[in-house]
Symmetry: C2
Subunit: 176 residues, 2 copies
């Protein structure tokens, strides 16, 4: 499974591609940041995010886009930009028929470190270890994007089993 | 000036086109709602919003897109969807080189009713009167989109004078 993880943001949108399956060593295929100038107007920044995400989709052809589920409890100043950047990333993937999966920050932290309250340094350290990198990816947004992709690969089998159980239950209900 | 007003939302995204200049009677060119099913996944809903906005841009070729400035203080359940739908609308316009203008809900209410704290019925009544309609546009999202467009047409001259003053001041600063 090849997953593009996106840590959404207008100024720095982290992107990372991880390939692998749960229970086997994972491989990083790419990592980076899509940036837009803070002094540009909002519409042009969103166009910049779109162009950047499109390039990553073109180059890596991921099967899934995993993006951080944004909560409005977060910092009031940044939450709107995060929601807007994530909307553009989801739009780009869905337009191509690529499924979008959402994971909360605590799900991502728990997946890669074992604790939903781990700090950025701990996440960066585990991403480095799990992908056998020489150093933690910089900036933190890039490491977070890789963590999202890893989280998705590891959570996907459980999520698929759950969806299959729900579908089976629904089909039994219809035939009963 | 032809303005497409957008009252952003995932379930109902109000759209309305108004043509005219400040100080002259205004004309409604179109009004409606772009809807997406609440049970569809978020990515597909954003694609639905994009397709709907694109159709309105194709048909009416507005010179400006006026969209509600979203605040995160609003209802926590709906604010993320509002931010995401507005991001898609702004992206569609900016991609075509159409300028995007943001107006706060109280600016819009003050422009069309004289009070920044007017209720929906009052806004609907004034939109009906100002555009010489037979009845208030339904749903309220459609009326709000028209109010946004009217607000932009009426505020634009003041905003342009302000921008010209700032530009003049800046150029004097450079030549001094």
């Amino acid at each position: 499974m090849r997953v593009l993880g996106v840590d959404p943001g207008l100024t720095r949108c982290g992107v990372g591609v991880v390939e692998g399956v749960a229970g086997r060593p994972l491989t990083m295929r790419g990592v980076g940041v899509v940036r837009t100038p803070p002094d540009a107007d909002l519409g042009h920044r969103l166009v910049g995010i779109e162009q950047g995400i499109e390039r990553w989709l073109d180059e890596h052809e991921p099967e899934v886009l995993a993006v951080e589920r944004v909560f409005s409890q977060h910092n009031v100043r940044t939450v709107m930009g995060t929601a807007q950047a994530s909307a553009v990333a989801m739009l780009c993937a869905s337009r191509r028929g690529i499924p979008v999966a959402l994971h909360t920050p605590s799900e991502v932290k728990a997946a890669v470190t074992g604790s939903g309250r781990a700090d950025k340094a701990q996440v960066g350290a585990m991403v480095t270890r799990l992908l056998r990198l020489d150093a933690p990816p910089k900036p933190a947004d890039a490491a977070d994007a890789l963590a999202l992709a890893i989280c998705h690969i590891w959570r996907a089998p459980a999520q698929n089993r759950l969806q299959q159980a729900v579908a089976l239950h629904a089909s039994k209900g219809r035939t009963a």
